[in-house]
Subunit: 199 residues, 2 copies
Amino acid sequence: MKNHVITISREFGSGGRTIGKMVAEKLGIPCYDNELIQKIAEESGFKADYIKEAGEYAPGGFLASAFSHRNNGTNNADYLWEIQYNTITDLAQKGPCVIVGRCADYILRGKADCLRVFVHADMEFRAERIVKVYGERDESPEQRLKDKDKRRAAYYRFYTDMKWGDARNYDAALNSGTIGIEKCADLIRDLYERRKSES
Amino acid sequence: MKNHVITISREFGSGGRTIGKMVAEKLGIPCYDNELIQKIAEESGFKADYIKEAGEYAPGGFLASAFSHRNNGTNNADYLWEIQYNTITDLAQKGPCVIVGRCADYILRGKADCLRVFVHADMEFRAERIVKVYGERDESPEQRLKDKDKRRAAYYRFYTDMKWGDARNYDAALNSGTIGIEKCADLIRDLYERRKSES
């Protein structure tokens, strides 16, 4: 039997990671986000910070120079993708869990019974939130959001060949700005429990 | 105070119209779909069937010839859009309601407190459903779905300048195939009541 997994894709600053943690806590199952990065770091030998950044750069684009080529001809991004792919597949085989980001929805197609969620919010809500959560930077919060969104979309597109943020790729796409972070977590738990009880 | 309105955009065959009716019934508020078409028919002098079809043709595209030009230089599609725009605006001013299709989410921006919902489902679910609901046709259900989707997307794009089906245009985008039609209706009612109680 396939495990029940919740995958959460999210716009930067939308609270998707917080929602993932809340849902996992409510359900008593693990949430992989930073833990996932640690695991990929152990497997790959790269530093966690590098992996965090690399997860948002699609190779081949104008940022390709950020990736040095490895001896066997593959670049670091592709090498990391392979480790990420295997790590996520392994985690989903262990038991029910929540996985935030990292194209887990795509990686687990056919491998787990996934509830695929996308969390987004408008610029104003996210700008206010990232300043609260991550503090001020030289760059305006709006510029930081635009950069991050662009990178995540390009990364997702490159590896999955699907359009990031298209409602049709998900079971539920929720606006955390208008629905509220706590309520989003409740809804996702509710959908997860219903699906589990029906399978 | 602005009225609370639920707008439902939907892929053909996803059950969005049925969900709209269910939600309206649960909440004891009107649902405008065929009623809306009747009202536009009365206002415009066109037949209801023509309006139903016209709502899925964007003017200027390869189907533009379907619209004869009116004396004052505007075409029928633009004339209908204007009536549709005014009719929807009037309905939302009357009181809380559910409006299915017709770019109501766009038309009511700033005019009502809208809960904007998108309902979709995969091809298989929708193909089975349209045969059940509308019966067999010469064309395959998959071809009918593709045609309808394409037309609705083009119509929405033309009049709203937004991408149809992009999760970020909605408060909640739900997959009726995986969540279930009845459960979608429950979720929407729940979101509506919560928003109403907070405002």
